[in-house]
Amino acid sequence: MTRWTLFFIVMIISLGAGLYYGWVINPVEYEETSLQTLRMDYKTDYTLMVAEVYKENQDITWAMNRLELLGFSSPTVCLENALAFASKAGYTLPDLYLLRDLKNALEESK
């Protein structure tokens, strides 16, 4: 094996190690982010909180204002995404019902 070959082999391996470190072990952490960039599971939990509060205060305008902060094209789309994720993630029925009730209320308010 020539020195050049060995040089490139070591460089490729260490390049891979560098990428693994930078993407997996110690990736860039963003600070000062907004609600729109939250991961979907956090967005779903946020939506569930809105649904929990809505059940209590029945204030659909308040709920819509809070959901719009998540950056979906509409609060209804937000609820659809949250319901899909919650079903997939195994949320319990009472929580799914809360999300569904809020979605129904949003559709009725249109």
Binding site: M11, E32, T33, L35, M49, K88, A89
Partner: protein, 283 residues
């Protein structure tokens, strides 16, 4: 390459490879600005998220769920963060109802002994997310996984955990224990200090206190916003020469003439003192 150069070329390749890898993964193509966590939110959004957690707690009275959600924000002390936000809200003459809701959750957290282990989100993930602790999904809906603070019945639905938390507005019938002037040169600001305790002498957080003064000013503050002093402690920055009326709504307890005293230091210099009120719940 000349064989006399030894193995330096391998070290060069190593440094070059790692350097390029880091340059690419941190600068050229870092992980996307998506899929962030609540702890990375801007402070304003954290406040909003915290408010929503407190509102949700007000609605569902599920303290463990609220604790798990607060843990996602990465605050060193969630109870203090809530109290501080309530203070900011009151100081900015913001939504008093929101401040009360924040205080209620802060008080509930302070009443609950801290778990020995770090609170986990309400459930562990069922999603194909990565498995590091930070990346565990906060899906509070599922409760069948181990480590969840909520019980499941046979159908997999949640069993609501009864909340042990009375709200601030349902204040118990406090009685006056003591009141008096305080001359302490260490206190640089004249304060009206209120200490609320139960029959065992433990501080009670979340007690609402109304203060009014001429001509028609009125403010509300709560015990528990400065847990570093005491869970049942509250204070109000007062002015000399003003007569204040302190009231504990719901318990009918009124202190009609609270005045900041003028004290004298050892050197004979006058300085404003403070006023202390001790109330207790006799049951």
């Amino acid at each position: 390459m000349n064989s006399d150069r030894g193995h330096w070329y391998l070290i060069t390749a190593l440094v070059l490879g790692v350097g390029l890898g880091l340059l690419f993964s941190w600068v050229i193509a870092p992980v996307s600005l998506e899929d962030t966590q609540p702890k990375n939110l801007h402070a304003d959004y954290k406040d909003l998220y915290r408010s929503l957690i407190a509102r949700a707690y007000q609605a569902n009275k599920n303290l463990q769920r609220a604790e798990a959600r607060l843990a996602l924000l990465g605050d060193e002390s969630p109870a203090q963060a809530l109290a501080a936000q309530a203070q900011r809200s009151l100081a900015e003459e913001g939504d008093q109802e929101m401040a009360r809701i924040l205080v209620n959750l802060s008080a509930a957290l302070q009443r609950t002994p801290s778990p020995e282990t770090t609170p986990s989100p309400p459930t562990q993930t069922l999603t194909p997310e990565t498995t590091t602790a930070e990346n565990s999904t906060p899906s509070p809906g599922s409760s069948s996984q181990t480590g969840t603070p909520e019980e499941s019945d046979a159908n997999g639905t949640q069993t609501e955990i009864p909340s042990p938390t009375p709200t601030a507005t349902n204040a118990p019938p406090f009685v006056k224990e003591d009141e008096g002037k305080l001359c302490d040169p260490a206190l640089t600001t004249p304060l009206i200090q209120v200490f609320a305790t139960n029959a065992d002498g433990e501080g009670i957080p979340g007690v609402e206190i109304k203060i009014s003064w001429p001509p028609d000013r009125q403010e509300t503050f709560f015990t528990g916003l400065k847990p570093e002093v005491d869970k049942g402690y509250a204070d109000f920055e007062a002015d000399m020469g003003v007569t204040y009326t302190i009231e504990m709504p719901g318990s009918g307890l009124v202190f009609p003439e609270v005045v900041i005293p003028e004290c004298t230091s050892d050197d004979g210099d006058p300085y404003p003192g403070s006023y202390q009120i001790y109330i207790t719940h006799p049951n």
